[in-house]
Symmetry: C2
Subunit: 488 residues, 2 copies
C-alpha cells in the first residue's frame, strides 16, 4: 500500500519545465487526471483559486452593470451554422450528443464550445427598441472543445470559464465594453496572478471565428513560449445580422445591434502555475493563494503540546481577523520536515513556526516561500509583519516575472535574427510584418512563431505602433511591429 506520507520528490523546474509542471500540479493536489480522455478534475485546493477569481471578476463586472445568467449546455447544430466564419472555426472541435432518453435524436445537439449562437438567438427575442439596450450578460459555465491529449489546465476538452456577451446601440459603446473587459483581464493577471501581460489585437488569422477584432492579453512563460491569457472580441454586427438582433434606434430607424464577447478560462491558472514556482514546488501569489499563511506547531517529546497549540490558535485568530486565509497544521504525522515540504509544494506564501522557544520568548519564526528567508518577530508584531510580507511577496513575484518577460522580449530586424532567437532562447520577438496571412503562415512554418498580437500603446512596450519599416520575412513595406512567439 502506498503511504500518504511518502516524501513528495518533485521533478525539477530548472531541468524540465513541462515535467515539473505536471508533477507539481498533481502533487500539490491542484488537479488530477480523470478517467475520461482529455478531461481533468479540479481538486479543492485548485478550485479555491478559481473561486477567488470569480469573486474578484464578479465585482469588476457588477460595477459596470454586467449581470450573471445561465443559458443551455446544448446548441442545435442549425444555430451554430448561422454565422459562417464561426461554424468554420469550431467544427473540428465539437462534441455531439446523438442519443437522448434512449432514442436517436433527429437533430443532434452540440455541447457548447462557446455560447454566442444560443445566447444571441435569445437576444433577438428580447431586443426591440434602443431602450432594451445595452444587454450586459455574463455566464460562468463549462464548455467543450475536443482535445486528444490533456495538458493539465492548458489543454483539456472541457474547461470552465466566464463568457460575457453584450449588445449595444453604438459601436463606440461596444468598443468601450471590449476594452473594459480587456482591462479586467489585465488586472486579474497582473494584480492577482502577478503575471505581466501585453495587451494587443490579434491578426486576421488568429482572431476569434466571427469577430471583427479580437483583443488579447499575452503572457510569456518560463520556457519562452507565449500563453494567450484571455480574449475580448468586438463582434461588430456580424452576429446581430446573422441572428437578426435589430432595434428601433433613437431616430426611429431599424438598426442591427453592436456586440461584444469576452472570456477568461481555467486555462489561465496553468499560466499562473508555470510562471511562479521553483524546484521546491508552486509559489502562490498571496492575493489568490487559497491558504496565505500556514502555522506549524512544533513540539518535541515531553514538551507541553497544549501551550504551543493554544499559542498557534491565538495567532491564527489574530491573522484571520486581519482578513488573512490561515491554516494551522497540527497533524501528529508526518514529521515536521515532511509537513514543511508539503506546504512548500503547495506554494503557501508564508509559514509560521512555533516551538517551545518561540512560545516562551513570545516570538514567531517566519519563513517566506518565494525566497526561503527566515526571520523571528515578536508575537505583537506578527499581524503587521505578515501583512507587509504578503504584500512584498505579491509585488516581488510580479517584478521578477516582468524582468524575465522584458529580458526575453527582443527586436528582430532580419529574418536571420528572428530565426536565431527562435532557435535559441525564444521569448517574445518584436518585428515588422506585412500583415499578409501567407507570410504569417510561412513564418510559423519555418520558426514555430505565430503572431501573438499587435500591442496597444502600453508602457510595457512603448512606441510599437508608431514605427514603419519592412516585413521581417518578405521585405515588403510594413507599418506595424507585431509581437511574435511560439504559443502554447
Amino acid at each position: 500500500m502506498k503511504s500518504q506520507f511518502e516524501k513528495k520528490e518533485l521533478k525539477k523546474k530548472s531541468e524540465n519545465l513541462s515535467d515539473w509542471y505536471t508533477d507539481v500540479v498533481l502533487k500539490a493536489e491542484i488537479a488530477d487526471y480523470a478517467p475520461v480522455k482529455g478531461c481533468m478534475v479540479i481538486r479543492p485546493y485548485g478550485f479555491a483559486i478559481w473561486e477567488t477569481v470569480q469573486e474578484v471578476f464578479n465585482r469588476f463586472m457588477k460595477e459596470k452593470g454586467v449581470q450573471n445568467a445561465y443559458f443551455p449546455l446544448f446548441i442545435p447544430y442549425s444555430l451554430l451554422e448561422k454565422e459562417k466564419e464561426h461554424i468554420k472555426g469550431f467544427s473540428p472541435e465539437l462534441a455531439v450528443v446523438t442519443i437522448g432518453g434512449g432514442e436517436k435524436l433527429k437533430d443532434p445537439l452540440v455541447v457548447r464550445p462557446t455560447s454566442e449562437t444560443i445566447m444571441y438567438a435569445m437576444y433577438a427575442k428580447w431586443v426591440q427598441s434602443w431602450r432594451d439596450l445595452p444587454i450586459l450578460i455574463n455566464q460562468w459555465n463549462n464548455v467543450v472543445r475536443w482535445e486528444k491529449r490533456t495538458y493539465l489546465f492548458l489543454r483539456t476538452t472541457e474547461f470552465l470559464w466566464q463568457e460575457g456577451h453584450t449588445a449595444h446601440e453604438t459601436e463606440q459603446e461596444a468598443v468601450d465594453m471590449v476594452l473594459s473587459a480587456l482591462e479586467w483581464y489585465r488586472k486579474i493577471y497582473e494584480e492577482y496572478y502577478a503575471v505581466p501581460v501585453v495587451l494587443g489585437t490579434k491578426s486576421v488569422t488568429e482572431k476569434f471565428a466571427g469577430a471583427k477584432t479580437t483583443y488579447t492579453v499575452e503572457a510569456l512563460m518560463p520556457d519562452g513560449k507565449a500563453l494567450q491569457g484571455a480574449t475580448s472580441h468586438n463582434l461588430g454586427q456580424n452576429f446581430s445580422k446573422a441572428f437578426d438582433i435589430h432595434f428601433q434606434n433613437r431616430e426611429g430607424k431599424q438598426e442591427f445591434a453592436w456586440q461584444t464577447s469576452w472570456g477568461l478560462s481555467t486555462r489561465s491558472l496553468g499560466g499562473l502555475f508555470l510562471t511562479h514556482g521553483d524546484d521546491q514546488g508552486l509559489v502562490m501569489p498571496p492575493k489568490i493563494a487559497p491558504i496565505q499563511v500556514v502555522v506549524i506547531p512544533i513540539h518535541k517529546k515531553g514538551e507541553d503540546a497544549k501551550i504551543i497549540a493554544a499559542y498557534c490558535q491565538d495567532i491564527k485568530e489574530a491573522l484571520t481577523s486581519g482578513g488573512m486565509r490561515v491554516k494551522v497544521d497540527d497533524r501528529d504525522e508526518p514529521s515536521v520536515g515532511r509537513r514543511f515540504n508539503e506546504w512548500e509544494v503547495k506554494g503557501v506564501p508564508v509559514r509560521l513556526e512555533v516551538g517551545s522557544n518561540e512560545a516562551s520568548a513570545n516570538t514567531v519564526t517566519i519563513a517566506r516561500r518565494d525566497t526561503g528567508e527566515k526571520s523571528t518577530v515578536q508575537r505583537s508584531q506578527v499581524l503587521v509583519h505578515t501583512e507587509k510580507l504578503l504584500k512584498e511577496i505579491q509585488d516581488s513575484l510580479f517584478v521578477k516575472a516582468k524582468e524575465f518577460r522584458d529580458i526575453n522580449t527582443r527586436d528582430a530586424a532580419t529574418f536571420a535574427e528572428f530565426t536565431k532567437i527562435m532557435e535559441g532562447p525564444r521569448g517574445f520577438i518584436r518585428a515588422f510584418w506585412c500583415e499578409d496571412a501567407a507570410c504569417e503562415a510561412a513564418i510559423k512554418e519555418e520558426t514555430k512563431a505565430s503572431t501573438r498580437c499587435l500591442p496597444l500603446d502600453t508602457d510595457a512596450l512603448p512606441g510599437t505602433r508608431s514605427d514603419s519599416g519592412v516585413c521581417v520575412h518578405c521585405g515588403k513595406p510594413a507599418v506595424h511591429r507585431w509581437l511574435f512567439a511560439q504559443s502554447y
Copy 2:
C-alpha cells in the same frame, strides 16, 4: 412591432395555477424557453436568486469543512454501470455523446445525470488510510436528465444544482453528514424561500438509485401537489464497494468507506415561485429577493424632477448602506402605473413612492407587495421602517404558507377517505401503509398519490412515528403513518 411597454396582462393564479406560473415566470423575466427541446434560459433576475442560494449554502457547507471542486461533465458508460441499481435508475434519462472532434467515439460518453460514479472513481485513488478521511467535497454544476416536455424550472433536461459527496470512517459520521445537509435544505426552504417543508425518509421505491436511505424535504404546492425539495442520501457502502474505496482503519484493517451524497437544484426555485405570488404576479420573500426595495420618483409636468431625483438617490444610499438591495426606477417611460405593475409582476417586496408631496413634507409612501397596504412614514424613519417591514413580510409569507400546508395535511383512516381527499382538495395525506411496494404502486395507480416520506419526528407532524395500525390500502398491519401526495 411589439412594444416593450405593452401592459403585462397576467393570467390569474386564482383561476389556473399552472398557466399563471408559466406566464409569470416569463413576464417577470425570471426565465425563458430556449431553442433547444427540454431546456430553458435563466435570465439575470432569476439567476440572482440562485446566486444568493449559492452564497448562503456555501456558508453552511464551509462551516462544516465542505470544499468546492470540479469534476468532468462526461462519464464513460462503463463507470456508470459499476453500481447496478444506479445505472438501472438513470438509464432511461441519459444524453450520450457519440461524436467528438469529428470522429465517432469508440467509447460513447454520458453527459452526467449526477456525479457519484466519476467522483468515486477518483475517491478510490485518493483514499488509503483513515487519515485521508473524511473527504467532504461539493460541486456546483449542470446535469442532464432527458425530458421531452419543459415545465420551467420544475422539469427541464438540463438543470443547475449543488451535489455534495462525502466519504467517512464510520456510518455514524456519514449519517451525521446526511442529516446536516438535510437541515441546510430545511433552512434554505423555510428561512429563505419561506416555504415550509416536511423532513422524512423515502420508501424503497422512491429512494435514490444506489442509496441505502434517502432523506427528503417535501413541500406542498398551492394546487395540493407535493414538490420533492431536495434529497440527502446515506449511500452506506454500496458505492465504496462498487468503486473500491477502501482504507486502512485505526485498527490497521481494510474497510470500505461510508458515503453520502446530497443535492439541491434550481428546480427548488419553481417551488418558491409557485408557493408565493398572486394574481398580480410573483411575491419574492425578502431574504432571496434580487431587489428588495424599488424606489419610484413620480413627477408631474412642470415639477422639479431634480429635487425628487436627489431625494430618491439619498434614500437609496441610506437603504443600501443598511445592507438592502435597492433599485431606483427613474425611467421616463412607461407610465408610473405601468412601472408599478412591472415591479409587482417581479414581486419586489417593498415599493417606495416619492412625489413632490413626499419630497416637500419629508416623507415617503411605502407599499407592501404581499398585502398591498400603503403607509406614509417620515424620511428619518425610512431605514428602520423598511428593515422592519422586510422582516415582517418574510415571516408573514412563511406563516401563510404554513397555514395552507397544515390545513391541507389530512389523516385518512380508510381508503375511501384517502380516495375522496385525492379527488377533492388533494394535499398531504397521513396514512398507515404496510411498506409493501406492490401496495404502494396500487395506491399510486388508483389515486395518483405516491409516498412522499416517512416524516422524522418534527414539530410539524408530531407523533407520526410512534403509532401502529393497519395499511390504508390492504388492511395488513402497519407500523408507520406515511405522508402521501400526488407529486410534481
